[in-house]
Symmetry: C2
């Protein structure tokens, strides 16, 4: 990326993504390859008044080596300093920038049960940090940066240089980086807000989702559920954009009531491994049957992680003709693919998706239908002919989606 583009992109991330406030700690989670963007983000962070900056670097190839060579016992022995580092972060006012730039199948072939074991070992350590994100206690965002392996996966017919450039262009286009990005995002956020308000005003009880691929699913919504699109707000009233790009309006399903069958419409990159062409059958909210054409073992590991991983915690509506979808690019990365398709998430619900949710205990949330889990994994279900009918409490119907798009 050219320096001028990096600067503009970093400014979007700092101003619109996390909306960093003077005196905050800026945390950046980033793969090492993305250092040019990280450097720009750090510079913009200080310009916005960051008190200090903590970059937590990662390298998926090192992670792969550790999984290949270390026993589960060693992998799950997380050193004490890791917890202290999260405590250091959560004890102060902070904002988190996540740079997403990974090879979607970098961990193919790794034992998914090992991965789940590590995730579980990390759980108590990152609990507060993760809670804060799920409850929008602090600002956070995810934005992407190209890398060669990912580019080659997305554009297998182009040479290295062309593929990298094509992925970069796709990231910038879908992130609404042309012209004046901040103005683009203000307008975009307004549109998503209007859409969410329309959904909230409907007061829906459940959604009936069907498409010609066989999907036939009834998703009941949580009591007092709220549809959210675009910006979110911290308890202190700071607006931020958790996803760059974003096209979704999402809310909380009731964890005990989903029923029917749903077919995936895009591959799912879960913990660095691709799961393809799968279906899930729900009864009273829980997955009672599943199958996957590719990598069923990873799907099984995901569903078996804990009780909540077999239930859904999010339903998101994205028109089949969104800019990302129209690019016709399969990104193999949830940040993009979820914004090109209606999707559900297995696992934990966002407390912000019910009234006063961030103030409720897990018990209080559960009573409204909120799912609890160590996971929150989006998977794509939107097709070109997806039909969604909303049912209100009085039994009346309203068309929400027709032929994959807003009715």
């Amino acid at each position: 990326m050219k320096e001028t583009v990096l600067k503009k992109y970093a400014k979007l991330i700092i101003k619109m993504g996390v909306n960093l406030k003077k005196g905050q700690l800026l945390v950046v989670n980033a793969p090492v390859e993305s250092y040019p963007l990280v450097d720009a983000v750090v510079e913009q962070g200080y310009l916005a008044g960051a008190k200090t900056v903590l970059v937590l670097w990662s390298d998926i190839r090192v992670t792969r080596q550790s999984y290949l060579n270390e026993s589960e016992e060693i992998l799950t022995s997380i050193p004490e300093y890791v917890k202290q580092r999260y405590d250091y972060i959560t004890e102060q006012s902070y904002a988190v920038v996540n740079i997403s730039s990974s090879n979607p199948s970098a961990l193919n072939g790794i034992d998914p049960n090992k991965q789940t074991a590590v995730m579980k070992a990390l759980q108590p350590i990152i609990a507060k940090y993760r809670d804060n994100a799920m409850k929008s206690v602090n600002q956070w965002t995810i934005a992407a940066y190209p890398n060669q392996e990912w580019a080659n996966k997305v554009f297998p017919n182009l040479n290295n240089k062309q593929a990298y450039k094509a992925l970069q262009d796709a990231i910038l286009m879908t992130s609404r980086m042309s012209g004046n990005p901040l103005a683009n995002w203000k307008e975009h956020n307004n549109n998503l807000l209007k859409r969410s308000q329309w959904l909230n005003d409907l007061g829906l009880q459940y959604l009936h989702i069907t498409s010609s691929n066989g999907t036939d699913l009834k998703v009941y919504l949580a009591d007092t559920h709220i549809w959210i699109g675009g910006q979110e707000k911290t308890p202190k009233g700071v607006l931020f954009n958790p996803n760059i790009p974003t096209e979704e309006c999402f809310t909380m399903p009731h964890s005990l009531k989903t029923s029917g069958i749903v077919y995936s419409t895009k591959p799912l990159s879960y913990q660095g491994q691709l799961i393809e062409d799968f279906s899930l059958t729900f009864k009273e909210g829980v997955v009672v049957k599943y199958q996957a054409r590719v990598n069923e073992a990873s799907l099984k590991a995901l569903l078996d992680s804990d009780e909540g991983s077999k239930r859904i915690g999010e339903i998101a509506l994205v028109p089949y003709h969104s800019p990302i979808s129209e690019s016709k690019i399969l990104f193999y990365q949830t940040l993009f693919d979820e914004n090109a398709s209606c999707h559900l998430a297995l696992g934990r619900a966002y407390p912000t998706n019910v009234v006063n949710g961030e103030k409720l205990s897990q018990d209080g949330l559960s009573k409204l239908g909120a799912n609890a889990s160590i996971n929150h994994v989006d998977f794509m279900i939107g097709a070109s002919d997806t039909k969604i009918v909303g049912y209100k409490k009085d039994g009346s119907q309203v068309n929400i989606f027709i032929n994959g798009d807003w009715a």
Copy 2:
């Protein structure tokens, strides 16, 4: 670097550099740009039986931003987890690979006093980790990896691609990577060992160093001093090579006895800033006068860090016609430039340079003449006509260097 070269280089680093033993923790300190080498080193580390691997990434541009934007108070407030991380390392059997790949003037213009303050704040935190390295308690090594800014500094007349390639070739050449690197290093280590034994057998009391640039310095050696070249040995008898490349035979000067004047013969990159064309005048071991044509402020900050920074802790002999020197390349990086030139180090002495030094307390070491300091900064003094005469205790003389080379 091509993958085959990376693998060969990583193997040299793991086998000859740290000589990693089964069950050890492998710590890798590395700038983010060097990730291709880090990935190869981690792979070789696991092949050699690493129990686990900890990569501590750094990014000098982020460091620069933090110095530019943060107050000294914030910069010196080191979070508790940093200490815990060093404790985690030093509590187990470990080996450290340092990848050196920085822009030699990346921190130009930063207040050197701020840098010293940070170094002092870090001191108690890294004390044990640093002690272990200085005493060869664990294996450690430094090896280099090219980066664009560094390459452009070293080869200002080449374009980006040519400069990078030229720096890469120079690193590989001086690291004796052609043919069979492990065999090359075995032979090289033997040669350095013979040279050191010859020096040890001489039983010198002091060295008189002169050259036509004005240098006229008497360096008394510490009691029971030992010359070391090439490999070092941990208390458990594990041989390792702390520097790739290395050309030096070095020992401990007596901290209270150096006298005369010495002129630098190469620029010194200290904390990311270049100090050029400087001289130091010593009396009874301490610097009583100094000047620098470029960046005297950094030199002053270095000397003022603590009492020991005004005294020397190492003297190293390197022939003016070493392979690195003959490459005629000025690397602007101590790992290379120190191995192209005789040098001294301001600051702490290596306990391994006196008999049983690693078992002595600081008091015991001081009695022999060992300097103590938070610093250990090599600077280059070798010239084409450097003459070094050794004086034995019986007053007899022996020529050590004539015209910059071994006599």
